[in-house]
Amino acid sequence: MDGEVLRLSNTPTSSRQLARLVWASRELISTLARKEFFVRYRRATFGVLWAAGLPLVQATVLAIVFSHVVRIHTANSYPVFVFTGMSVWTYFTTTTTAGSTAIVDNTSLTNKIYFPRAILPLVQVRANLYGLAINVVIVIALALGFGQSLDAHLLILLPATALLVLLCSGLVLTLAALHVYFRDVRYIVQAVFTGLLYLTPVFVPLGRYPVALRRVVLANPATGIAQLFHLAIDGTAFEWPKAVAITAAWTVVLCFVAVRIHCSRDRVFADLL
């Protein structure tokens, strides 16, 4: 920051300026994200192993419950299908719930020092990638264990994750900014996400939803990502181009709104914290 000039007045930050500030703080994002992830397991004897252990237990339970109790036919093994969906869903929900309150929850930082407030929700987007990576490894191991053959479709995971990260960034940046002004956001998010799980193709493949409900499921921004992950693991997914197009539209709109809010409010969020 040497030789830099900070000039503040009652004018919004330009989007280019904000982008430059966020880019300059990329080291801060990864440092805070690492802290966020590793501090979670700091005191546990098995430490970070829990990050892999918990999803494994979850996967086992889901596999037992859904292959013996509920019988739904999928292209390949059902437990793998469920766990693929769960990986996406877990990332989506933990990132959004923690990210949407990130600016308010970090008052101890925001009241004392300036950095673009957008950093705080983005830290959650970044921190939960560790968990997602672990889950993806488990999904692949699980698929191989169930005798599923994996192919070049697996490469779809990369653009799928990129889209997931962009979608979540737009979503948490918008929600975190709104949450500064309307503290109800925290509870609205919790309520919406409780129901949203059943409108995401996690347990039930998209093609198995009743036609009327399928429209609602398709409107869910998480559906496109889930379908891409299913496509990568199973090699096939119902109406995935349509779902992805809708998710992409959501992403563009949310990112646009997020940039607008953060440009005009970045410097004055602290007034309300």
């Binding site: 920051m1 900070l6 009652n10 801060l28 440092t31 805070l32 700091r42 004392k112 950095f115 007034d271």
Partner: protein, 390 residues
């Protein structure tokens, strides 16, 4: 370099109602929100190599000014310009996580302060050295004493070779030796060409480091110039609390009233400022409304931090009885044996009844007194130390 030009900051006071409902009501009724100017019309320039002090009572706008300079909030009007790397000592130890070791926290805190990982690595030894915690650097910070945490936080903040230093009361924490070390470091950074802004209630620290000082009052600049004059201005603005209850002593109203209370110097002239060691007289005139058998007076002096530093009354040797309607003047002679600072002199008249039962009859409007001490003197009491050698 720091530059404030016509800076004002207005806050909107929201009501207790949750904001979502508030927003809806506002949309419906278009009511106006209450607004408050925390700071208005502030012009200030701090050139490289200079240190400027900012003083004022609580709520005068000092914190808002630091927030603006730290970039934490933007001004409502005017412009704030800060050139170069800022070390906000207002944010010492920000982001410290108790579960992480001192080492991890240095990197975390340094990154939050805008240092790159390489910067921190290069400065790491100097930081640990300055904080004097080499043996504990790999211990989780939660096992540190509060003094150690402040030392570590301060060490990170001042190692960054800043161009601008923002300092507030942080130095009030930590032991005396470390405070001196910090002050020396701040002065060293200033001498290397940094602009320093020092916001403090500690007038002796302001006097020591800042040739010029700004006085803020109710969000506006009351004075900006030489520190000695600034302190006199601040002193004249001191809002002396009218009454201060002295430990549950009962009050008896309507028996006497105080018609005059002044603090005089040795020549009998009223003063509001004195030098350390001056012999002063507190003069009080009391009019008895009813007969008072054993009247006495009590002298209380409050220090710059608001605590009572001296009290004495003559309850064991009370004055002769007063009959109804009689007016009498009492004097209390005392010595201003204090270092530089603003003091508050209080005097009350009371009576003794039966076996040592006392009740306060009237409390005089307190008098504020500024004491100018010798250079390089700090603390609560001036013991008039003299130095000699063989």
């Amino acid at each position: 370099m720091i530059e404030l030009a016509g800076v004002g900051k207005r806050y909107v006071k929201y009501h207790d109602a949750p904001m979502l409902t508030h927003a809806l009501i506002k949309l419906a009724a278009r009511t106006r929100r209450d607004q408050l100017w925390a700071l208005r019309g502030v012009d200030l320039t701090v050139e490289p190599g200079h240190c400027v002090g900012v003083v004022g009572r609580n709520g005068s706008g000092k914190s808002t000014m630091l927030q603006l300079l730290g970039g934490i909030t933007a001004p409502t009007e005017g412009t704030v310009t800060v050139k170069g790397r800022v070390a906000p000592l207002i944010a010492v130890g920000v982001g410290f996580h108790p579960e992480l070791t001192g080492r991890d926290n240095v990197f975390l805190n340094g990154t939050i302060l805008g240092m790159s990982r390489r910067d921190i690595e290069r400065q790491f030894d100097a930081i640990v050295d300055f904080a004097e915690i080499a043996d504990f650097i790999d211990t989780p910070v939660k096992f540190y004493s509060s003094g150690m945490q402040v030392r570590l936080g301060f060490a990170v903040a001042v190692q960054a070779d800043p161009n601008v230093l923002l300092v507030d009361e942080v130095l009030a924490v930590g032991d005396f030796a470390f405070q001196i070390k910090c002050l020396r470091r701040i002065d060293e950074i200033r001498a290397n060409g940094a602009s320093v802004l020092l916001v403090s209630h500690n007038l002796s620290m302001i006097e020591r480091l800042c040739p010029n000082t700004m006085v803020l009052h109710d969000g506006t600049v009351r004075f900006n110039g030489l520190t000695a004059e600034a302190i006199a201005t601040l002193h004249s603005l001191l809002d002396v609390a009218e009454t201060k209850d002295a430990g549950g002593v009962p009050h008896a109203e309507g028996l006497a009233e105080i018609t005059e209370f002044v603090v005089n110097d040795a020549n009998g002239a009223p003063v509001s400022a004195a030098s350390t060691g001056d012999r002063l007289t507190a003069r009080i005139t009391v009019k008895a409304l009813q007969a008072i058998a054993r009247p006495f007076v009590g002298l209380t002096i409050d220090g710059p931090r608001g605590d009572t530093i001296y009290h004495k009354g003559n309850r064991h040797e009370p004055f002769p009885a007063l009959h109804a309607g009689e007016e009498r003047t009492y004097t209390v002679a005392w010595t201003a044996q204090f270092p530089t600072g603003s003091y508050i002199v209080r005097l009350f008249v009371a009576k003794v009844e039966g076996v040592g039962e006392i009740s306060v009859l009237s409390t005089a409007k307190p008098v504020a007194l500024y004491v100018q001490g010798a250079d390089e003197t700090y603390g609560v009491v001036d013991v008039a130390a003299e130095f000699s050698g063989d």
